[in-house]
């Protein structure tokens, strides 16, 4: 039981996808200018990443591994993720136009988020089982969402700051991300305590 807790804790804090594993940075930099958009992206990613983790596990475990087709992992994972993204869009639009208007513009962007492919691949290399895969996917996406929201909060505040000209915009955002990553290093070891 507690090992599952550590899987989630590890994915959210200790090995945060963005700050420690360095995945999903393009949306992290691109969609963090405003808090609301960051939230939307976060929700959408959480949904797709969790579902993608589980599905990828199933495909790998029942289709690819038994037939020695592991070299098709990359292809089949990404294709499945793309399908999930599109399907999600379809389902959401049908069932909840409100949610669709919130998540709509973010969904297509998710396919090119490294984290969404990286996490299923990590699941394979860390030999997680189905539940662990799901939890790891969920934890990673929560970690991503958290990073995104906190970053957006700081970036909003930075808007008024008198940053030296060459650093205005993305440069100072990078430095900020670096300092956040530095702070997250403090969590090192928290998932290993027995």
């Amino acid at each position: 039981m507690s090992s599952y807790v550590f899987v989630v804790l590890g994915a959210v804090l200790v090995n945060n996808v963005v700050f420690v594993r360095v995945l999903g940075l393009c949306p992290f930099m691109g969609v963090s200018k405003k808090l609301e958009t960051a939230l939307g992206m976060g929700y959408a990613t959480t949904f797709v990443l969790t579902l993608g983790s589980g599905t990828s596990y199933l495909i790998d475990h029942y289709l690819l591994a038994p037939h020695d087709l592991t070299y098709l992992r990359t292809l089949s994972f990404i294709v499945v993720i793309a399908a999930i993204v599109q399907l999600t869009e379809l389902v959401i639009e049908k069932t909840s136009p409100l949610l669709h208007s919130v998540l709509g513009i973010y969904l297509p962007l998710i396919t090119t988020n490294c984290a969404v492919l990286g996490v299923p691949l990590l699941n394979v290399s860390m030999s997680h089982n189905l539940l662990e895969s799901l939890l790891f996917g969920f934890g990673s996406s929560i970690g991503f969402t958290m990073a995104l929201i906190l970053f957006a909060g700081i970036r909003e505040r930075l808007e008024g700051a008198d940053v030296p000209t060459p650093f205005r915009g993305t440069a100072i955002a990078m430095v900020t991300a670096g300092l956040m990553s530095l702070a997250f290093m403090g969590f090192a070891g928290l998932d290993r305590y027995q």
Binding site: Y71, L72, G189, R192
Partner: protein, 220 residues
């Protein structure tokens, strides 16, 4: 209206295109895979052999090490929670060395995975840390690739040491003979302890280990 109809038709068409592309590219991949597979397997073995070479010079044995293995179940003395392997080196049919997987549970950053080679002369032939999470730049000198001292990496100290007297495999700070880096005693102490335990365990099991059938599971 005809939306359903068009949707169906478009679905069919796009499914067809997808199918064609998928087949074509899968074929390409499958071919590449077939072509590269032998190389990949060779590369994998070479990688493993590289590690083994580091703990046991290739000149000391002449058998197919990687095939001459004994599986271990969970072995607390080696720090193995899930089990591991012992590779057996022989030269001209005679026992040459045992290469044992072991784990130091008490590293600064958690468990340290080790490969310990014990020669038939009951001395350590070599030790390597294969996986660890020691602090980069501080505790990671246990891995010779990260060790700043390239000429005499810290972990090379183990080579040729025997199990007795007991102080041999302890740090100077604890009254032993092994060096360590100030400020990172824990990592060194963890490795030394684990190596000493592994050596002791191997020495008390070596005859049976050499004798066990290849590929079998060892029952202590």
């Amino acid at each position: 209206m005809s939306a359903e109809h068009t949707a169906g038709a478009t679905s069919l068409r796009s499914a067809g295109v997808m199918l064609a592309f998928a087949l074509a590219f899968t074929m390409m991949m499958a071919t590449t895979y077939r072509f590269t597979r032998p190389h990949i397997e060779a590369a994998r073995e070479a990688e493993k052999m590289k590690l083994i070479d580091a703990v046991l010079p290739p000149g000391r044995y002449d058998n197919q090490l990687l095939d001459d293995v004994v599986e271990l179940g969970p072995t607390p003395a080696l720090g193995l929670r899930q089990g591991g392997r012992v590779y057996r080196a022989r030269r001209g049919g005679a026992d040459a060395a045992l290469i044992v997987e072991a784990t130091a549970p008490d590293g600064y950053g958690g468990r340290i995975e080790l490969l310990v080679a014990v020669g038939a002369d009951d001395r350590l032939a070599g030790v390597r840390a294969t996986a660890h999470a020691e602090t980069p730049g501080l505790g990671d000198y246990i891995d010779p690739r990260k060790d700043r001292n390239k000429k005499a990496p810290w972990i090379e100290q183990f080579r040729g040491r025997a199990a007795k007297p007991a102080t041999v495999l302890a740090l100077r700070k604890d009254g032993g003979e092994l060096d360590y880096r100030v400020g990172a005693t824990i990592s060194a102490r963890a490795v030394a302890g684990a190596v000493a335990r592994a050596l002791g365990w191997t020495l008390s099991h070596d005859t049976r280990l050499y004798a066990a059938p290849a590929g079998s599971r060892y029952q202590p």
